[in-house]
Amino acid sequence: MTDVAAPIRRKRVLPGFTLSLGTTLLYLTLIILIPVLALVLKGAEIGPERFLRIITSPRTLAALKITVTAAAVATLFNALYGLLMAWVLVRYEFPGKRLLDALMDIPFALPTAVAGLALTALFSANGWFGSVLESAGISVVYTIWGIIIAMTFTSIPFVVRTVQPVLEDLDPTLEQAAVTLGARPWTIFTRIVFPAILPAFLAGSTIAFARSLGEFGAVVFIAGNKPNETEIASLLAFIRLEEYDYAGAAAIALVLLIMALTLLLISNLIQIWSARHREPR
């Protein structure tokens, strides 16, 4: 008999923590962290002065402006439409609901180039929509509207798919309670339902915006890509790369990256703020 007790080793309930976390971190580092870091380093190599000169050149500024404007309009549209769509898919029963639900994912599944081609065919001057719009004096193809439509198409599912599950899980007795307290439908939506789905809604909108900022495949077909008019930032970066102007490409890409990261940060802050009531005292 020995009096020396063996040291107690705490056992984790789930085995393989070290291995699985290690694999995850390695993967994340190789696939995401290193490329992003390389981009930042490449941008840093340029030096602040040259960097500023590149991104303030008229052509770059125009491209960034067009990209952000189009992405903002596309996101605004998709935020409203996505909210409505999620509402319809969750709250009502109708024939073909499952089909509609499945259709939502097409923009995710479809190669963006295919989407771009299809949209161009539809909206060109002799396409189905284009011919009608053209006769009304609106041209879509080769204008910023084309860019907006392409971005809208490819980012539709983000808001729908983030809001939908939250709306599904929303406790129906909350709305019943509000009804018994005398609240009208619109009040119930603005004061009970919307606050509950706000974090998901913001998250979805932010991802949709970030995605639109970087959309390339669908846009280049429909935009016409006229410098200073319908040339988006990621295309300009691509052109710079083709010209072996690595610094120019990296500078533009870095600006896009910073914008996307800032958006994610803001969205996360809003989400933390709107989840403040979940913190225990």
Binding site: V179, G182, S274
Partner: protein
């Protein structure tokens, strides 16, 4: 506010949830709807609240036809089993909600609302919790907030759906007393749904026992326990022992049973079923008694006596552990039974009502 429910029916798909409910509730009364799950009690409550609509029937409150009135216009206070507090609002905002959503013309000023909320927080004994969020409260505190939110609109009728169902036993007892106090202080007409008999009897002026979409019986504890209106009520009130007996001139007789304590019943001669609560039965040691004690279990205050009959497991009866009769009981003792009280129903197809207790067509006894 008096509430009159007439001939109300409701079905969900093929399931009949309410099969013709008639119920009158007086102004200022505290009434419990008691029944097992699926008896339709919550559906009835939700129809009164305007959260569900019946297929047929009438609902009149103080002479007004409430089926013509949207839930928003009924001014009821509804308390949900799981509180249904708005998670993103503080306790204060939750309580004030019903006042702040009123149309601008009827909405009280901010100072008035604040004063009202203060008053309610004080009344509900949760004054220090005003700035907290619901998820930061215990279950009992949440239910107080939920009641405060319902009371803030000065409801004409207060409806509670299993209000204490999600709470632990001690808090439940505590809140029960407190709810009775709230009811007496506000003078509102109150209906609450529960499946807990003790809760219903302790709290309510009258208890409405529901089963499978019908009202089985209305009364207070002693009436319902001593004179159940149907086998359903007898079983629901804890009469787990069912024994076949024979009725002759209103007297019941059965092998191994001393039924001299039971009063004479106005039931036709023939086969009948005796419903007994385990606590109402005393085992009497008898040579060649019908039952044999196969196990004795003590809970400290009660002695549970498990009986078998000719080797087949039977039922158990309870008696106070310190009762004189308990001393003579040991495993293996043969006993007969002497019920202190019990309910008798002629053996008929139970669910084929309307003639429930009074028999029309006796069926075969269900044991040899």
């Amino acid at each position: 506010m008096s509430i009159i429910v007439q001939n109300m029916t409701k079905r969900f798909g093929r399931t009949e949830v309410l099969r013709g409910i008639d119920l009158t509730i007086e102004s200022g009364e505290l009434v419990a709807l008691l029944g097992p799950s699926g008896s339709g009690k919550t559906t009835l409550l939700k129809i009164i609240a305007g959260l569900e609509w019946p297929d047929a029937g009438r609902l009149q409150v103080e002479g007004a036809d409430w089926l013509q009135l949207a839930a928003q216009d009924r001014r009821i206070g509804f308390v949900f089993q799981h509180y249904a507090l708005f998670p993103h609002m503080t306790v204060r905002d939750n309580i004030a909600f019903g006042l702040t959503v009123r149309p601008r013309a009827e909405r009280p000023g901010k100072a008035v609302i604040d004063a009202k909320v203060d008053e309610l927080l004080e009344f509900l004994q949760i004054a220090p919790l005003g700035e907290r969020y619901p998820l930061q409260l215990s279950g009992g505190q949440r239910q107080r907030v939920a009641l405060g939110r319902a009371l803030a609109i000065q409801p004409t009728v207060l409806l509670l759906d299993e209000p204490f169902g999600a709470l632990d036993a001690a808090v439940r007892r505590d809140l029960r007393q407190w709810l009775r106090g709230v009811h007496d202080a506000t003078g509102s007409t109150t209906i609450f749904v529960t499946h807990d008999q003790e809760e219903a009897f302790e709290l309510a002026d009258r208890v409405v026992v529901m089963g499978e979409g019908r009202i089985e019986q209305i009364g207070h504890a002693d009436q319902i326990v001593d004179h159940p209106a149907s086998p359903f009520v007898a079983r629901f009130m804890g009469a787990t022992i069912e024994l076949p007996v024979t009725l002759t001139a209103g007297r019941a007789e059965g092998e191994g049973l001393d039924l001299s304590h039971l009063p004479r019943r106005a039931l036709p001669d023939g086969p009948a079923t005796l419903f007994l609560r385990p606590a109402d039965v005393t085992p009497v040691p008898t040579a060649n008694g019908r039952w044999r004690i196969c196990r004795l279990t003590s809970t400290g205050s009660l002695l549970r006596v498990d009986l078998d009959e000719g080797g087949t497991p039977g039922f158990s009866v309870d008696l106070p552990r310190r009762a004189p009769q308990a001393r003579a009981l040991t495993v293996g003792t043969r006993v007969n039974l002497a019920p202190e009280a019990g309910a008798l129903f002629s053996t008929v197809a139970e669910r084929s009502s309307p003639a429930r207790g009074d028999t029309t067509q006796p069926l075969k006894e269900h044991s040899a």
